[in-house]
């Protein structure tokens, strides 16, 4: 009986598979040893655009911050401002006219020299482009060129935090005659763009004549791993020198890994649960206080987030200027008995007569949020308050948030500039975003005052007062401040982590 054809085909397939497996094992590919010093960064962030006037997401900011320089920078590893393209700056006593003195001899990648009129052109271009971050420039009335290296900003109203605003990417000068900056960026920064395969990787080359001296690595490759599990595997196998976006669950194992190390820093982002005070019964302060006492914060921090976040007691994160350490004393802690007592005082003994609250979240934007929400749901159920979790994709969530179509929500807040003003005004002043319908005239008035004073000591006193009032009104459940952490191979030196998540690859080197 001739060998039936089916067996032959099956045989061929088996042989082909064997060949593939053999090549896979025998020829263990030698990792490429290119002559130049290459540094590979793995990240879960996928950059969208490289035009500083359009950038408003972390992913794009990470790349753009290494191609462009903004006017003002930070002292390494801190939130203190430091000179960058502007050597120094000053303002008039009303803090509404700011003058910046530019560094001399700074060149763009295409050779043009940085001058004041280029800064003026860049700001006006950004204003005219009306990209997502353009609202940050609303405070600027007009830009004046004082002389070749001095530029003056006349503001519409007194604004003390203006220099910290000038650290934002939108303040990065761009060459006047350049076109298609979204894809072919030309900046003054330490790296130049060589190639951008969207969704796959960004390849940057060292800018040899950078004004702070050439960066230590010749080529910087930023590879995109949408899934943190894959990023962790790449890190463990040494395919990636530094990883941004490792998930909290993997930290314990990675710390045990001998040839890896972690750098971490207190963050500035705050995560909270907001309550809609426009709706019955959440306008009842006692009820909100009861909810605050019912949450087991330690379980969330230690078991769910595995120590990757520190507790938030009030409206401001600990790392920002003006934070009041006493808030940790008068802030809310897990106390279910007190919660039950307050709930009864509020008129709902054991939750009797309370309707079910709808808590909207978006876990697509931050995966751990789903677990935290489940713990909160369980905690509130134990004192008699039932909560229904609704997980939405990010824009649907935002749409309901801005239409105030929720009982409770969970979200985090990323500061545009490191100043208490960028937390208090938008989140608690009734003339700010006013997400929760929280209205306290004293808070409104103090917030406005603090914004106009230039004397830091005065401002700190006002913000301390504000924190006490807000915590007492309990508009929110103050949850946590995620720590920033970055993993890298043992032989990576020079990387400095900034609280404002400013990622600088300039000093990085592989020993």
């Amino acid at each position: 009986m001739k060998f039936p054809r089916i067996y032959m085909i099956a045989l061929i397939i088996v042989v082909v598979a064997a060949v593939i497996v053999a090549t896979v094992f025998l020829t263990k590919p030698t990792t490429p040893q290119p002559v130049e010093k290459v540094f590979v960064v793995g990240t879960t962030y996928d950059p969208k655009t490289l035009d500083p006037a359009l950038v408003y997401d972390i992913a794009s900011a990470i790349v753009v911050q290494n191609i462009y320089d903004s006017l003002v920078g930070y002292k390494p590893g801190t939130t203190e401002l430091a000179p960058k393209l502007a050597e120094r700056w000053e303002s008039d006593e009303t803090a509404s006219v700011w003058t910046f003195y530019l560094r001399k001899g700074v060149k763009f990648h295409d050779g043009t020299e940085l001058t004041a009129d280029i800064v003026k052109y860049s700001i006006e271009r950004a204003k005219q482009l009306q990209g997502p971050p353009a609202f940050l420039l609303d405070v600027i009335e007009r830009v004046e060129v004082v002389d070749k290296y001095t530029v003056r900003f006349v503001l519409k109203y007194p604004f003390a935090p203006f220099p910290s605003l000038a650290t934002f990417v939108i303040f990065s000068p761009v060459p006047p005659n350049a076109t298609n900056l979204e894809e072919k960026p030309i900046g003054t920064g330490p790296f130049k763009l060589e190639l951008w395969k969207k969704g796959e990787q960004v390849v940057l080359v060292a800018n040899k004549d950078y004004w702070r001296g050439p960066p230590k690595v010749d080529k910087l490759i930023i590879k995109i791993y949408p899934d943190p599990t894959t990023l962790r595997v790449a890190l463990e196998k040494g395919e990636v020198d530094l990883a941004l976006g490792i998930q909290p669950q993997d930290i314990e194992d990675l710390l045990k890994n001998p040839n890896l190390k972690m750098v971490s820093k207190e963050g500035l982002v705050i995560e909270w649960l907001g309550m809609n005070q426009r709706r019955e019964p959440l306008n009842n302060t006692l009820l909100r206080k009861a909810i605050n006492y019912a949450i087991d914060y330690d379980y969330i921090l230690n078991v769910i987030l595995r120590g990757t976040a520190s507790r938030l007691y009030g409206p401001l994160p600990p790392a920002v200027f003006g934070y009041d350490p006493e808030v940790e004393q008068y802030g809310y802690k897990y106390n279910p008995e007190l919660a039950k007592k307050l709930l009864a005082e509020a008129g709902y003994p054991d939750g009797a007569g309370l309707r079910e609250f709808e808590l909207i979240i978006s876990s697509a934007e931050r995966a751990e949020r789903k677990d935290v929400a489940a713990v909160i749901q369980r905690n509130l159920k134990e004192i008699g308050i039932s909560v229904r979790i609704v997980d939405l994709d990010w824009p649907s969530f935002l749409d309901r948030l801005f239409n105030h179509d929720f009982d409770m929500y969970m979200v985090d807040w990323f500061p545009d500039y490191v100043d208490p003003d960028d937390w208090i005004v938008p989140l608690f002043a009734s003339y700010g975003l006013n997400l929760d319908g929280y209205y306290n005239p004293v808070v409104d008035e103090l917030a406005l005052k603090a914004r106009q004073i230039t004397d830091p000591k005065e401002r700190v006193k006002i913000y301390k007062q504000l924190q006490r009032i807000i915590v007492d009104d309990a508009p929110w459940v103050f949850l946590y401040v995620p720590k920033l952490y970055v993993f890298m191979q043992k032989n990576v030196e020079g990387f400095v982590l900034y609280p404002a998540y400013y990622i600088d690859f300039y000093p990085v080197v592989k020993v």
Partner: protein, 291 residues
């Protein structure tokens, strides 16, 4: 009358495949019933008041047979709670999309011409729209819950049935007995129900049981982006997409729901296969169809 019925069921169970399938399915159903009634844990009970760390798998503590998930909830209990929910979702989807797809397939296959091309082009459109986009739109209109996920998945899988049925109707349409029926002046509807339908039912049922697994997996995919079941509902998709993040540390919260899902779908497929053989006119219980 009873003898015929009992013979029918005896015949049905006589087929090896159906027997295996039914045994697995019934044992799973009974097990989940017992778990729901007797499990010491509510499906969403977080273990911290029992002081057992999540993601632990200690077989010393009896109640946690399969260990706990990332919130310390008992995986064993939740996996079997999810059995009821997912099987009903899966069945709802295949019935919904199956019936609509069957009707579209029959009508367009049998009538052909303009009707056929219009219906098929509509199917092309439905297929080319990304399923999860439809799910978000439905969730936006009706609010995101498991029911909308079922509707979204059903709508997206209609073309699968429509195109398959149409293909089969086309090849059956030409065969002798259909032509004979048409010559005998039977109405289109009677021809479809009496002649074409029984002929294509076997393959259709097989496809439906196969689509059941796709349905459950699609619900899981929607949970992956938070549009399927919501916390704390125990649903395989939600459990697996959450547990996936802990897979390196604890594989069981992800693998066991996957395993139970496989067993359920295997049982449906064995039953579907057995039914296909049973319902096939040629292989009916007589001597294999030969006089």
């Amino acid at each position: 009358m009873s003898s015929v019925k009992s013979r029918f069921f005896r015949e049905l169970l006589g087929i090896k495949r159906i027997r295996y399938g039914v045994i697995i399915l019934i044992s799973l159903a009974i097990l989940s019933f017992f778990v729901i009634v007797f499990s010491p844990f509510e499906h969403d009970q977080i273990s911290y008041n029992v002081h057992l760390p999540p993601l632990s798998r200690s077989n010393t503590t009896w109640p946690y047979i399969l260990g706990t998930d990332n919130l310390g909830r008992d995986v064993f209990t939740r996996t079997f709670y999810a059995f009821i929910l997912d099987v009903s979702c899966g069945l709802a989807i295949i019935t919904l999309s199956g019936l609509i797809g069957l009707v579209i397939g029959l009508v367009s296959g049998y009538l052909g011409g303009l009707v056929d091309s219009v219906l098929m082009r509509i199917m092309d459109i439905v297929i080319s729209i990304p399923g999860f986009m439809l799910a978000i739109a439905i969730a936006a209109v009706l609010g995101s819950s498991i029911i909308n996920a079922v509707i979204a998945v059903a709508v997206v899988t209609i073309p699968v049935y429509a195109r398959l049925v149409r293909g089969m109707v086309l090849s059956v349409k030409e065969s002798l007995f259909v032509l004979a029926a048409r010559e005998a002046g039977l109405s289109g509807l009677r021809i479809i129900t009496k002649h074409i339908l029984p002929h294509i039912t076997p393959i259709f049922i097989t496809q439906a049981t196969m689509e059941l697994s796709n349905a459950i997996i699609y619900i899981a995919a929607l949970s992956f982006i938070g549009l399927g079941a919501q916390e704390p509902t125990p649903e395989w998709g939600l459990m697996i997409s959450t547990a996936r993040r802990y897979i390196r540390e604890a594989w069981w919260p992800a693998v066991f729901p996957g395993l139970l899902m496989f067993l359920t779908i295997l049982s449906f497929n064995l039953i579907g296969d057995g039914l296909r053989d049973y319902l096939d006119p040629k292989k009916r219980l007589s001597t294999g169809g030969v006089g």
